[in-house]
Every structure is written in structure tokens, then in C-alpha cells.
Symmetry: C2
Subunit: 316 residues, 2 copies
């Protein structure tokens, strides 16, 4: 594990290490590897990467927002397993022209977001390359009974989402087209947040779960494929804020497309059997079916929808 000498190394290391204390952390940053004492719970482990120009642009993101986003998207994955975030490792590829303040602000953002979840940054790595790459590894803890897989949806389950969809993509499109105003959706794009806290209280009633990183259509398809089932989504039930509809309209698009294919909302999709319906909260948007394929129900008709929607990575 390398922390390479670059200008401002000490500020960075100070920034990282201030979070890495705890009785469970036998060794934090500074050795060949970090060492933790697992508490006997199960460990959920994920990794996700942000590439400048592909996943974010400094044209509209502040460095701090980028750091926050890097943590939140991984926390969302950990949370979608029914686990809670615990440890973070940060790998950075830094281009030659990046300034120390930028890197320090990225860490500030990571630290701030990490603090929300009481995570510790226990390790990392810095090296150089042509473009800024932020790779986060996150380790969470879970109890066995809380684990939620994509593969556990049952025909007859109802499909819920935990909050409104499409706003992040709407925000991105406005940035790309240089449209003023629309603060709600822009903030949703710039400051995404993991939403697993919304479902913690009724986790035990959930059958299958996934976070919305690529849009409702894509992500429910993942549940269907792994559970060997199909789904119907009721178009009129998909929760979309008026702000999102207005933003989509301003760029000549339908906000429903953003909700289905846009992604990066980081709300949760979860399925619940009919018997447990009154135990959960959220927006009921559809139903799991024996019949394969994901269909959209609208105006009395069903049509198959593709899992391949917009590529939300392409911001150029």
C-alpha cells in the first residue's frame, strides 16, 4: 500500500489518518496493509470508481462534492446489502497538474461523508496518471438476518422504491446544456446520498433489494435476472418530483425516461410479499411476476422495456 510522495503529502496523510482510530483497527494507514479485527459479523465489501470526465466534471462539481460522492455511492452499495459502512480505503490516480488544495478538498468531502456513517479511512494509495481516478473500497458489517440479495424476489412480491427518481439525471442534463436555475435537481446530481437509512427499520420484511445506480428499469432487471422472475412497473406510480418534470421539460425530455434509465438516484428498490405490505414504507411502483421480462404498464397496455437506457457516465 503506497502513499507516494507528492507535494502536500503530509497534509493529505494528516487528513486521512485523523479518521482512522478505533479499538477494532489494529493498524491504520502507514504500513503495508491495514489490519482490522472483524467482530464476528459478516463483512460486505464493495468497490466503485469515479473517473474525472466520465463520472464527474469539475465544471460543476466542487472537489469536496466529488469526495462526498465517492463515499456515498459505495455506502449505497453496502447499504443495499443490508449492511452498514465501516471501513474505507482510498486509491487515487492523480494527474500531474492537480493542485494539493483540490486533493485535500476531495479528502475533506470523503471525510465529511464518511463521518455521517461513522466509517474509518484505514488505508489508501496514491499514484499518478493522465486523469483523476478515485477508487473507493468500502467494507461494511452485516448481521446474517439483515442480508438482502438481488436474487430473492418472489412472484407476487410488490416492488417499492424509497424515494423520487430521475432528479440526478435531470440535473446532469441541465449542466450539460448550460441551463440556469433548477437548484433541486442540480443538487441531487452534485450531492447524491445513500438512502439505506430509509429502510433500516423494516429490513426484515424485504425480500430482494438493490440501489438505483443505473435507473429503475436497469436495476429492477438485475433483480429479475438474478431471481429468475419478471416484473411489471406501473408508469404512473413511479415517483417523480415536479421539479424533475419541469427540468426534463426544459431540455425537451420526459422525466419518466430519466427515472427508468437515468440512474445515480441511489434510492433503493426492494420487493415485499403481499402479507408484509403494511410493514414497510416507500412508493409502490410495480409487481414481481413469474413471466420473465420487465414491462412498463401505462394507459392499459404493457410493453417490454430495455435494461439498457442512457449511459449516465457520458457527460461529455
Amino acid at each position: 500500500m503506497r502513499i507516494k510522495a507528492i507535494g502536500g503529502e503530509f497534509a493529505l496523510i494528516k487528513r486521512i489518518t485523523k479518521a482512522a482510530k478505533g479499538r477494532d483497527i489494529i493498524k491504520g494507514i502507514g504500513d503495508d496493509a491495514a489490519v482490522i479485527k472483524a467482530s464476528g459479523k459478516l463483512l460486505a465489501i464493495t468497490t466503485d470508481t469515479l473517473v474525472e470526465g466520465d463520472h464527474f466534471s469539475f465544471k460543476w462539481f466542487t472537489p469536496k462534492q466529488v469526495g462526498k460522492k465517492a463515499i456515498e455511492i459505495n455506502a449505497s452499495d453496502i447499504g443495499a446489502m443490508g449492511a452498514v459502512p465501516k471501513y474505507v480505503l482510498v486509491s487515487l490516480v492523480l494527474p500531474a497538474d492537480i493542485d494539493v488544495e483540490t486533493v485535500d478538498e476531495i479528502y475533506n468531502g470523503m471525510w465529511e461523508a464518511g463521518k455521517k456513517y461513522n466509517t474509518k479511512i484505514i488505508g489508501g494509495n496514491m499514484t499518478h496518471g493522465k486523469e483523476l481516478v478515485i477508487d473507493i473500497d468500502m467494507i461494511g458489517e452485516a448481521k446474517k438476518e439483515n442480508l438482502k440479495f438481488r436474487s430473492n424476489a418472489k412472484p407476487g412480491d410488490f416492488i417499492f422504491v424509497s424515494g423520487d427518481l430521475g432528479a440526478s439525471t435531470a440535473g446532469l442534463k441541465l449542466f450539460l446544456k448550460n441551463v440556469k436555475g433548477h437548484d433541486y435537481v442540480k443538487k441531487k446530481h452534485l450531492e447524491p446520498e445513500a438512502k439505506f437509512y430509509k429502510v433500516r427499520k423494516f429490513l426484515k420484511y424485504i425480500n430482494a433489494m438493490i440501489d438505483v445506480s443505473d435507473g429503475l428499469a436497469s436495476d429492477i432487471t438485475r433483480i429479475c435476472e438474478q431471481s429468475n422472475v419478471g416484473a411489471v412497473i406501473f408508469k404512473d406510480n413511479v415517483p417523480i418530483k415536479d421539479e424533475t418534470r419541469r427540468a426534463a421539460k426544459d431540455v425537451g425530455k420526459d422525466a419518466v425516461d430519466y427515472a427508468l434509465y437515468g440512474g445515480e438516484d441511489f434510492e433503493l428498490i426492494y420487493t415485499v410479499s403481499e402479507k408484509k405490505l403494511n410493514k414497510v414504507k416507500g412508493f409502490l411502483v410495480g409487481e414481481i411476476t413469474k413471466k420473465k421480462g420487465v414491462r412498463l404498464y401505462s394507459d392499459g397496455k404493457e410493453r417490454l422495456i430495455s435494461k439498457h437506457g442512457y449511459d449516465h457516465f457520458l457527460i461529455k
Copy 2:
């Protein structure tokens, strides 16, 4: 955790997942996060990144060798803690023009190297960017009594290295200068291997340990700084193969510089108290001192040596 749709996705996923089975793996690739059952041992966690053009060049590396190297350098970090490799997560940033065969061969290399250590690839992530970036996260297991920190060297300890140094850097220089022949050092550069198996049998007699990723001078400095001690290295004792000396000579350099500042040998540096000297194997290259600073002893004289040597990243 994203496995993005790119050409050849299925071959890749097949490649990755074939290694991810085991009773301790509750969930491998395919969900939001991998889930493992920690056995009650301590977990060592590390991450290291290879960037094309900075850490390797396809001018002389095959894709398979790159994949192997990515695993070996992380295994070396895990091993240097006194831990053994166990789980791997692979994050790839892929440029648009990379072909599927290349990516598949990188995975082949990872899988082959991982198999040596009986590691399982339990997760990963693929996205696109301007240049190829391979980020590996590795998790190992350790018993508390086997943990070896950089911070535990004592004045009077003898300093050992587990094998010959400087060959990898010599190999790199030959590639850069397009010099023919010298297969030994070239192979050392192209196919580095973690060497922790060399010290497993006498781990309990070791005080402090680190792997040689940046050269003997840099890495012993890390031990000294963290242990609050100094060191003397006996120049004539530094193990350097004749092949390495000849290779260095062919590009007009001194092989000792490669050993001290070159790096990527992935041998281990370890310190042992005088009483335990007969319990360990390796090359005795120096001594830990109360007096701070790292000095090189040669021809009856000592001189301070810098921890900043050649930057072995710069291959262009």
C-alpha cells in the same frame, strides 16, 4: 459495485466468477457488494494501483503479465504484514480502444497468480477512462502473533533481506534503452513475485518487516521512521546477482543504486534481534541503530543516504 456492459462482458464475468467459491463467501460477484464470513482471524487489507504508461508498458509486458503483477504486488503487501492473501476485488478503468482479449488476458494473469495463493476474486468494477488503470484490493488473514509492523524495529536488530535486489529495475532500464538479452533481469521486471513464503517459517523471530517496493534505502527508511530508530546498511553485503551487475553496467549504471533506490523487487526486509540470529535465513545487510538516519557503510566510511531514489514509476 458495477460490472458495466462492455463488449465481452460475459467472458469477463465468467473469468472472474470462476474463482469465487467457498464456504466463507456468502455472496460473490453480482450483487451490490460481496459478503464474506470472517473466520475470527484478523484481516489485513491493502490496495494498490497500476496505471498503464506509469507502472507498466505493453511494449514489453503481455496483458497476462500485467494481471499477474497486479496480484503479486498486493500479495507482497499482505505477506509483509505476516498475513496470507485471501480475497481480491478488481477495479478496472478501461480506455475505449482496449480489446476484449487484452482484458481477458489480464484476468487470466490475475487468476493464475491468485490461484498460487488460493485467493478468491469476490468482487469488482469496470468503467471507462482515458487510460488503463488496474486497482486491486486484497484482503488477507492473519493470526495476531504473526502480525509484523514497520514500527517494531529495535536498536541492535540486524537487518535482513530475503533475496537479491536491483534486478527488476535493471530489467526496466534495459527495456527503456532497448538493450537486447539479459533475460534474468528482464523476467524479474516482467514477472515479479511476492516472496513472503520465504519468511513464513521463522516469522515469530522477526521484529519489523516491510516489502521492497521502492528500494532498500527507501523501505528501510520507512521502518526507521516508524520505529524511531536509524540504520546502517553494509554496502558490500547487499545481495546483487552478477546478472544484475552486468545489466547495470551495460547501461552505464551501478547495480547498487538499483538495489538501494530501484524497487519492485518485492523481497522482504526484516529485522531480527541478535539472540534470534540463528533462527532466521536471509541476507544480513545491516543493523538498526539508536542514531537516527539511514547510512551506507562502505570502504570504512558511513554516509547518509536519501530515501528518495529513482522514481521507478517513470518508465517513459
